[in-house]
Symmetry: C2
Subunit: 166 residues, 2 copies
Amino acid sequence: MPAAPRLPFDPIERASELWVEHIGESRSMRLATSIMRVQQLISSELDAALKPFGITFARYEVLQLISFSAAGRLPLSKIGERLMVHPTSVTNAMDRLETQGLVRRVADQTDRRRTFAELTDQGKHVLGQATDAVMAIDFAVVGLDDEQQDQAFELLKAVRSAAGDF
Amino acid sequence: MPAAPRLPFDPIERASELWVEHIGESRSMRLATSIMRVQQLISSELDAALKPFGITFARYEVLQLISFSAAGRLPLSKIGERLMVHPTSVTNAMDRLETQGLVRRVADQTDRRRTFAELTDQGKHVLGQATDAVMAIDFAVVGLDDEQQDQAFELLKAVRSAAGDF
């Protein structure tokens, strides 16, 4: 969904001023709103960069995670755990990726309840190109130098920790 | 979509280590991933807090913005501009809110192409309660003190500015 054109002022700062005027302290409101806005910007840029390869960033993450596994394959349950998404989301992503010929499901010979995900050769090829594409735009994280990126990461890590991610 | 249970390690730090091992510098990757994760956490908490009132955070923002207008009403086009969302999203949110009896559309007598949004009395009532609910959880921004919240806001503002929001 494309955003509205650039404004001559920061609409979040403006909302923050209005909040202070009508309601009170706006610190957490403006931060929450900023996080949502930056997520929209980043997601939309990453999805656009990956569009030539027919995948979204969510599916890119699945491919990348599988490629990182020492055995070249991962149980589906572990993919959900590591990407912090619901098993249904993993199933949907895997269905799409399998239809696209980028992954395959492999039954575990020792535990029939368990299924592994593996990359196909085409999956490895697309993943390499997709990685180049997202690195070329520096993961859409613009406007911050290295030190600021690290600061932002640590601040968000404190939120994730307090929210119970790990 | 509920997330997986808490892990004994930070999955984003782990992904970052794997990225360094297999690909190279992981700074922007881990920041982009963190932003997406924190947005999921915050959205899900805010939507849960607003569920008793039958609205999402996106619809809450529409109500709040209308309430801030000096005239008590806003042109639909301005709502999209200020919330940085596509006109279609505003139309959808307004349709839902109007069906719920929380807003009404009012034709502009001087410019027939323009439509205003106004809160109903019920809309004002629900907005007040919804505001109490999101403030009670501090907009789901947990784990950061005031100074850290301001730092995070400023860092994200630099991203928004560089991405062309204002």
